[in-house]
Symmetry: C2
Subunit: 197 residues, 2 copies
């Protein structure tokens, strides 16, 4: 019976290294060092570097996205608009300084890999679609409840909110500054307020 401990440590090490260096620049030897195993272990569990990268997306980044950004929108008890605002606030505040400097891992991979590898692109796109749908549904719910303006298109608005969020992360990453993230996040929250109706 296997607990796949080695596999999990490989995934974690790969995630860390990819988050720091990007996928292409992430060295397998560096990952192996960090995980404390050797090439034999790696190629026992994964057929190639690319499949390791796919697994990081499927088994590491996706769960994080679900639990801290999507599920609070689905399962939350607050009114829709407040639920959106609190999810964004909490998600941002939960970020450590290092995570701000390194940026959103999903966005990083999407930006780096989507033009050059279809497998990565499909995965990142699927995650964005799920995220988008959770925001869009929350907006729709607010519209039926009557406390979100009726004249906005939920999908377009959700797309814009998502873009603004990722943009804030990008700005903060480049400025290497939590303050930039806070200022930019304030803009997002102000925009959300403008959706009340």
């Amino acid at each position: 019976m296997s607990l796949d401990k080695t596999r999990r440590e490989l995934l974690q090490a790969a995630y860390t290294e990819m988050h720091l260096q990007g996928f292409q620049a992430a060295s397998l030897n560096a990952i192996l060092n960090k995980a404390g195993v050797t090439k034999g272990a790696l190629y026992h569990y994964f057929r190639s570097k690319k499949e390791l990268g796919y697994a990081v997306l499927d088994e590491w980044i996706q769960p994080y996205l679900m639990t801290t950004w999507i599920e609070p929108l689905i399962n939350g008890t607050l009114p829709p608009l407040e639920r959106l605002k609190s999810t964004i606030s909490q998600g941002s505040e939960a970020l450590g300084d290092k995570e701000i400097q390194l940026g959103c891992p999903l966005n990083n991979l999407a930006q780096e890999m989507s033009p050059i590898d279809e497998g990565f692109r499909q995965r990142t796109d699927a995650l964005y679609q799920a995220w988008l749908e959770s925001i869009s549904n929350t907006l729709k719910e607010g519209q039926t409840l009557g406390n979100i303006r009726q004249d906005i298109d939920p999908r377009d608005t959700a797309l814009f909110i998502l873009a603004a969020l990722e943009g804030c992360m990008s700005i903060a990453k480049n400025a290497q500054s939590r303050e930039a993230l806070v200022h930019c996040g304030k803009g997002v929250l102000n925009y959300l307020d403008s959706l009340a109706g």
Copy 2:
């Protein structure tokens, strides 16, 4: 007398390759092939791959940013809010399909390199600051003219606009879709309209 034709072709080839693959994954040999020269030429004009990357930012990306995104804000004759909207519209429409798929070259480099190389980070940050200031000044001008709301902070708002713009580019890049860019851009323009006052 030298027209630095070789140097310019190296810069252009490096820009293209970096735009497609990213800086780290851009192969010098691929750049040399594309430019039609050899290593001797490259290392005659640039001391290292990194300095070539810096030069691409300084001499290729910066001019593009200035002429199509910043100077229209400074020299434009439209009223401030319309000037912002038209600059954004025109800048977006000028993008070819390939450029949408490959994303904003400034954002690409910023995302990839800012956590791991201070030289890149300083350059991309300086460009973002210049961009930010041009937007911020346009907002201020609108406030003094009275057709932009007085209760918004120009710098914070400019930061949010910039984040939203870069976010739209990111979303469109990952979706590989001009339609996504258009929908998302609509959100930006709507937001800008909400600043009128």
